[in-house]
Amino acid sequence: MMPRPPAAGRVARAALRDGLPARLQLGDGRVRDVVRVHDAWRVGNRWWRGETPSRHYLLELDDGLTLEVYEQAGAWHLERMLD
């Protein structure tokens, strides 16, 4: 049985290793390991409205989920799921 996908929105926590996300706790409360970082990039956002830049990651998790998360001003967010 496929695990129920986590709810989109705020990621509860992220643990980093060598500057990259290594473990995530998503909206469903479950902690998942990151098995692979496919890509990483930055977005400047609307600086003229006071928005801070964000760092984006395309990650593959231990349960097979592939998703994009981003960190902005210390908070982690789930942007989208690719599955």
């Binding site: 060598d18 500057g19 990483a40 990039w41 930055r42 600086w47 003229w48 984006h56």
Partner: protein
């Protein structure tokens, strides 16, 4: 894990010389690159090498290698690809310059065939994100990709490099790997060249805002060319700040090795050790030095006699030795060729600036002031240790400057002559416009903000914007956009370049084609322009000459021609004789229309200083500059000269330098002399010191010189630290613009010559001034002044007026034209030209005159309209301006003009009358005619003054006419013809009111201004209660109360500041 591999070179950096595509100076890029441990920086700005010299100079200071390049826009059918090119040698640099020159001629783009013919010693990169490989791969246009790569690889054999970049975009990592694979498959070398557009990541918002300004969008509008993030800053050499992912393709060993190889292949020195003079024309078998000596010694014997000859000869030998040592003989001969040409053609030209201190320039007739007689400092111009070239400025009659420039191009060759550029840098108003537009601030609000910044902040740099925060908040409120705008400005470097424009007169004459040094582009006015400013040109080993247009010289020239036409006398315009009556007039402040001394401030100064010699006049001209004014030199100078205050010195050692100027610093040379005499500097150091001290913007810029001066003064002259500091402060206060003594002499001479001509040939001189309009006063004021000079004025007349102001004389020749003359003057009058009427172009005026000469006088407006294709608007303006007054009434002429305009094509005489007959119309009254005259021509030839039209009203209000006003308490009034609110006047403002030929300066206190500024801004006529003081022509009213009136006409007078 630390990354073992590091990037050592930046091969694709852009500076603010990429105009809207980069935001750091070359210097800042080098500084940051050095901090991060890079070894080379290549500047690849779009279509330009504007920053190449600065890059090399900064690189030399920081121990880096500077690589010269540029990015061209390659047009390939419907696509345009950026293609960064790097020069592998000086020859490659010349090739690049030629290619960029073509690019500028072709609207900014080049084609593959152009690259084929301009590829020597150039390396090409394939481009970063906007480059052909990335874009064509993304569009899956593999065939096009093959074609373009094949062509570029063929054009640049072994010199075409696939550019790997990383900009922290999605998929960039994969893209870089793919590009490397592509390179391997095609056997092309891949290099790591991240795209850099600013030094540090905090500048990305500024980059985005200026990109928006360039693209014409606001920050809220998306555009594909806008940056997405802050990854175009200089990355750390291990790229760890660009990506946390391991092993980006850019750091693979083969890629790094290629990058090293390319950087090393492009290292060569741009800046030479010596200056290269242009080629002078020399007689067969004669060297430049021999020719220079021959000309100089010949002139020496004609210019000097007796003991002065010995002094002059010694000075000449000293100068010739310096010129020989520096190899500048041909430069002097080339400059002399230009002034020879001017003299041969009767073009009034005169050298000034520091060149006027050179006896060599004087003997070659480049300059006119005798440096021996006036003890001018040669070292300001040239000295053995000189690191920079001599500065020769030649003023040319402005009306004929283009003729001289055209000859210079023919004589020295189109490929070896061009103008230097001026770098137009950001100040608060221009930054408000560009950044404000990007932030979506409406144009009206931007204009209001620019205006509100006023004179106080107009010349502040954007990074000092916080000093004007109150004004920003007053206009923009506390909206977030205010903070954003201030934040962006704060990030701008002090001398951020916005664009380039032609220099006012700096012409470079090269020995070899100038494209060896710089691309050549055309200004919007078609002027050939180098991409370097005067300092960079000098660093490149080129020498510039300033060929500047000066309207007053055109006045001299026109006066001479008019005198010759009227009296048959040819004035030589050299060495005008001392004439007491001329000096008497200057001492009275009777200086309207004269060079440099006609402003109200100078009128007052003339009365206070009572100049009697050229030395006095040179000092007076020099006193009214920002340098002396800001250093509070003016009042001590006047008080000491007039004996009201003892002459004192900050230190006894200054007496040797400043005795002639009563102990105050007056000239640029004074700074150099003090640096040498007091602080023991060499002349070359003193010159650098002078330049820095007069141009610094931040204290940090002169910190080292400050220390060197204070230490030197204590060591050399035994000054105390306090004394040395006080002297330095006085010198630093000279900041801004001050005259070189030699320059002041040249201008003083012009001022006296203008006074002499005005006194002896008032009608011819006034006609020339009316034609050239070199000064500050409106034509109507000059018309009133003509009454005082006994010069009449004839009315505009379709059968008598010409294309320029002309003198008419009913009583034949009479005035003498020779220097020794000065006999009784005839009564003469001026006739205005057709162009005095607003809306009548030169071409229309010329046609009217030619047709009159061809087919006889006009019989009326209808006759003119039938003979000439005159635009209807111009015809109507001529009728309203009174051009047909001698033939028909003005209202009749106007009626006919309108009727013809709407029924009959111009230049045709129909068989049958097509217009209705003119109905009986009331003739113009006196007042109405005067108002029409002012509105159409800006003056009334009759001499009626607008105040005459409201005399009754003024008398009813108790305002005494100026002519009847006496010293002391007074209520008077007049037409406002000048408004001044200089930033140096501590809030005071000055209004010149005029009543007929009489004028007075009204001094308005800051309190009075604050209470009535709107009324003062809008009034045409001013009634003032105050205290009148009259000394000579300097009439001043210290205002206690002011009332503004509308007045029948408005005069576009002189407005300054506020």
């Amino acid at each position: 894990m630390p990354r073992p591999r590091r990037l050592r070179h930046l091969l694709n950096a852009h500076s603010y010389f990429d105009f809207g595509r980069g935001v750091s100076s070359p210097t800042r890029l080098v500084e940051r690159a050095a901090e991060l441990g890079y070894e080379s920086v290549a500047l690849t700005d779009r279509n330009g090498v504007y920053g190449a010299v600065e890059l090399h100079q900064a690189a030399r200071r920081h121990g880096l290698h500077a690589l010269v390049g540029a990015t061209v826009a390659l047009r390939d059918d419907a696509d345009v690809w950026p293609l960064p090119l790097l020069a592998a040698s000086r020859r490659g640099y010349a090739t690049l310059n030629e290619l960029l020159t073509i690019a500028h001629e072709q609207g900014g783009e080049v084609t593959l065939p152009m690259l084929e013919t301009h590829a020597t010693d150039l390396h090409a990169l394939s481009g970063a994100r906007a480059g052909a490989p990335s874009r064509l791969l993304a569009q899956r246009r593999f065939r096009d990709l093959d074609r373009i790569l094949d062509r570029l690889a063929a054009i640049y054999p072994d010199r075409f490099w696939i550019q790997l970049y990383f900009g922290a975009h999605p998929d960039d990592l994969r893209r870089a790997r793919y590009l490397r694979t592509l390179a391997r498959q095609r056997r092309l070398p891949a290099v790591a060249a991240p795209e850099v557009r600013y030094a540090t990541a905090d500048l990305w918002s500024l980059h985005d805002a200026l990109s928006c300004a360039r693209l014409g969008v606001t920050v809220d509008e998306p555009h594909p060319e806008r940056p997405r993030n802050d990854a175009l800053a200089i990355p750390r050499p291990d790229l760890s700040d660009l990506t946390p992912l391991p092993d980006p393709a850019l750091l693979l060993p083969d890629v790094l090795a290629n990058t090293d190889a390319l950087a090393e292949a492009c290292r060569w020195p741009l800046l030479p050790d010596r200056l290269v003079p242009p080629k002078a024309r020399l007689p067969e078998g004669v060297s430049a030095e021999e020719q220079l000596e021959r000309r100089a010694y010949e002139a020496l014997l004609t210019r000097y006699r007796g003991e002065t000859l010995l002094t002059a000869r010694a000075r000449l030998e000293e100068e010739l030795a310096t010129v020989r040592a520096l190899g500048f003989a041909e430069f002097f001969l080339a400059a002399a060729e230009i002034t020879d040409f001017c003299h041969d053609r009767g073009i009034v030209a005169s050298g000034r600036g520091s060149a006027a201190a050179s006896i060599l320039c004087y003997l070659l007739a480049i300059t006119q002031a005798d440096p021996i007689e006036h003890q001018l400092l040669f070292e300001r111009f040239l000295h053995g240790g000189k690191a920079s070239p001599p500065d020769i400025d030649i003023d040319i009659a402005s009306a004929r400057r283009d003729e001289v420039l055209a000859w210079v191009e023919r004589r020295f060759g189109a490929r070896t002559e061009a103008m230097v550029c001026n770098r137009i840098t950001y100040y608060l108003p221009s930054a408000v416009q560009d950044l404000g537009r990007a932030l979506g601030i409406p144009p009206e609000t931007r204009d209001r903000l620019s205006k509100a910044l006023g004179r106080q902040h107009r010349h502040h740099r954007p990074h000092h914007a916080l000093e004007a925060e109150e004004i920003f908040r007053e206009v923009l409120g506390d909206a977030p956009v205010t903070d954003q705008l201030l934040g962006l400005m704060r990030r701008m470097e002090p001398r951020f370049v916005r664009h380039v424009a032609p220099h006012s007169g700096g012409v470079v004459l090269g020995r070899e084609p100038l494209m060896h040094y710089s691309p050549i582009q055309r200004s919007s006015g078609g002027i050939k322009l180098l991409q370097f400013d005067k300092d960079d040109v000098e660093a490149l080993g080129l020498i510039k000459l300033d060929l500047l247009g000066l309207r007053m010289l055109s006045v001299f020239e026109r006066t001479r021609e008019e005198v010759h036409r009227l009296d048959g006398t040819w004035l030589e315009l050299r060495d005008p004789p001392h004439d007491d009556t001329v000096w008497d007039a200057i001492q009275q402040g009777d200086t309207m229309g004269l060079f440099q001394i006609e402003s109200p401030g100078q009128v007052r100064m003339s009365v206070q200083l009572q100049p009697r010699t050229l030395t006095d006049l040179a000092h007076q001209v020099a006193l009214f500059r920002p340098g002396p004014i800001q250093s509070n030199t003016v009042h001590p100078y006047v008080a000491r000269r007039n004996g009201r205050e003892p002459v004192t010195y900050l230190h006894p050692s200054l007496e040797a330098v400043l005795a002639k100027s009563y102990g105050v610093i007056l000239f640029q040379e004074d700074l150099m002399r003090i640096a040498v005499h007091v602080a023991g500097m060499s002349w070359s150091d003193a010159e650098r010191f002078r330049k820095k001290v007069t141009t610094f913007e931040d204290e940090a810029e002169i910190r080292d010189w400050h220390r060197a001066f204070v230490d030197g003064a204590m060591r050399t002259r035994g000054c105390t630290a306090q004394e040395a500091q006080a002297i330095f402060d006085a010198m630093a206060a000279f900041r801004g613009y001050g005259f070189a003594e030699s320059h002041a002499w040249a201008f003083g001479l012009h001022a006296y010559l203008s006074a002499w001509l005005r006194h002896h040939h008032p009608a011819a001189y006034l006609a020339a001034v009316m034609n050239e309009h070199p000064g500050m006063w409106p034509l109507s004021t000059l018309r009133q002044e003509a009454k005082r000079w006994s010069v009449g004025m004839a009315p505009l007349d379709v059968n008598a007026s010409n294309v320029g102001w002309r003198v008419e004389s009913d009583d034949g020749p009479g005035a003498s034209g020779s220097w020794s003359g000065g006999g009784p003057r005839t009564r003469r009058r001026l006739r205005p030209p057709f162009q005095i009427v607003k809306g009548v172009a030169d071409e229309v005026a010329r046609e009217i005159v030619l047709e009159r000469a061809r087919a006889g006088p006009y019989r009326g407006l209808r006759d003119l309209y039938g003979r000439l294709a005159v635009p209807g608007e111009a015809l109507e303006a001529l009728a309203r301006g009174g051009a047909f007054d001698t033939l028909q009434s003005r209202r009749d002429a106007l009626f006919e003009a309108r009727a013809l305009h709407h029924t009959t094509p111009p230049g045709q005489t129909p068989l049958f009358r097509t217009t209705p007959p003119v109905p009986p119309l009331e003739a113009l009254g006196f007042a109405e005619r005067t108002v029409w005259d002012y509105r159409t021509k800006g003056l009334a030839e009759s001499g009626v003054h607008p105040v005459d039209l409201m005399r009754r009203e003024l008398l009813d209000l108790g305002a005494v006419p100026l002519a009847r006003a006496r010293d002391g308490e007074v209520r008077t009034g007049g037409l406002i013809v000048a408004r001044q609110k200089p930033g140096t006047a501590q809030g005071f403002s000055f209004f010149v009111i005029e009543d007929g030929p009489d004028r007075a300066q009204v001094v308005v206190s800051p309190d009075l201004w604050d209470a009535h500024w709107k009324m003062l801004r809008d009034a045409r006529v001013l009634i003032v209660d105050g205290v009148l003081q009259r000394v000579g022509r300097a009439w001043t009213v210290r205002a206690r109360a002011v009332v503004g009136l509308g007045g029948p006409v408005e005069v576009r007078g002189y407005h300054y500041g506020g």
